[in-house]
Symmetry: C2
Subunit: 293 residues, 2 copies
Amino acid sequence: MMSDTASTALPEQSPLALVCGGGTLPFAVAKALIRRRRIVLFPIHGWADPGGVAEYRHHWVKFGQFGLFCRTARAEGCRDVTFIGSVIRPSPWQLRPDLKTLRLLPRIMRCFRGGDDHLLSGIASIFEEHGFRVVGVRDLAPQILMPEGLLTRRRPSNRDYADIQKGLSLLKAISAFDVGQATVVHAERVLAVEGAEGTDRMLERIALLRRSGHIKAGNRQGVLVKAAKDGQDLRLDLPSIGPQTVDAAARAGLAGIAVGADKTVLADPCALQRAADAHGLFVLGVGSTMLPQ
Amino acid sequence: MMSDTASTALPEQSPLALVCGGGTLPFAVAKALIRRRRIVLFPIHGWADPGGVAEYRHHWVKFGQFGLFCRTARAEGCRDVTFIGSVIRPSPWQLRPDLKTLRLLPRIMRCFRGGDDHLLSGIASIFEEHGFRVVGVRDLAPQILMPEGLLTRRRPSNRDYADIQKGLSLLKAISAFDVGQATVVHAERVLAVEGAEGTDRMLERIALLRRSGHIKAGNRQGVLVKAAKDGQDLRLDLPSIGPQTVDAAARAGLAGIAVGADKTVLADPCALQRAADAHGLFVLGVGSTMLPQ
């Protein structure tokens, strides 16, 4: 159902609208894409980094200015839209709705009841009903995804593999609940499950619990396991890791990080690898053969 | 299989050995029992509160002095044993093993791989093989359990009930993983899952995430849901709540607390009720009809 129609330019030739949240990920994606396609950034005011935005053609939007986005994106000839970068889950009260958003408000409010996937897929279908095609980073820039296999000098031990398997099974069991995408397991004991706090804060918690003696584990023990939820719309919110994840995992005393291969964005692969080797951590991309069925 | 035999006194007449961890719960249980049965406390050095212990007949033991416990408990004529109170999961390296424990060490070390239930049931079977009967607080002092229904003036709203249902379903889904016994849900979104940090620290996290703006929710919104794991040995580790849980839930801005009825220990029911009414929180005992099947 389309209530409006977008530019009739062929999708392949039309520039890509990149709606940018916070962090460096939007610029990693922009950099990977710019040689192959025209891109227009739509940085979200209050989240996106103005420094990184300046290098690219861009139009700032406020959270809730859907009408402005539609007009500007169409004027630019954009038909494909990608969402990228972190947006701390906004409150409905932070919306700066323009007229079009106001009309959609009851529906948007319903999207806010439930987890992140529910919110994102609700927002995505609104874009699609307005004639845009929502495209995932996964299809646009597969080179920024975590490959299957080992990135580091250190390799997981058999015990680490047991922890990884347990973590993947747990993430699978909770994926229907739209909670978090990460967990920490040590000696087959689940130490933490990611909630609203995000991966980095969960790792901080592990570091604190170790220092206070609540978690007893030798240094370089335990694994951070991170994977997309079952049935998650991979166009909208891929798990991501970067050098700061490695640093946080090292501070938490972990042996390494295991992430779903081809479904996790690597924010800065070279820096990540350097950091992991420096700390003596492993970073493993887990392929589908290892994922619990 | 019994490798030793205990006193031949009838279990009903024999005194009860109460192995005490930290907190006030051991003394609430002791107080509830002392009028009906002789009890001997075995406070664990470093965990149990010496002040509370002094009122009762007791013998201090160190974590790992299983031989000393067996000798002393038999000399006291104890055949039934109950474990009660918090023990921050000790490291195997904190064991102060006596000879008997040393012989059991390979087996004990295996108990430490995995979650709390696995550890506790392993320890319990060692006690049973030495001629003791492990009895649950639930059978000894059912009066200290949370009853079904509402304890407070405030009642849950329909939205609170939706959150409670979601929380109970999540706890059920993760119960096979032997993680935590509690979760926080708001607007049908799971905000936190308890891990090694325990309920009070999970609630602190919610308070922090609210203050930093990572969680957007009005005051007195969201529910702490706490329930025993599926298949959990209820003789060994019942979830518990007390006035401090209510205070922590209030600081986290929650609307209330829902716990599994008849499977949750109330540490100090009167103080808990007073605290909840003062903060305007509900406390609900959820019966089996509401539990997800």
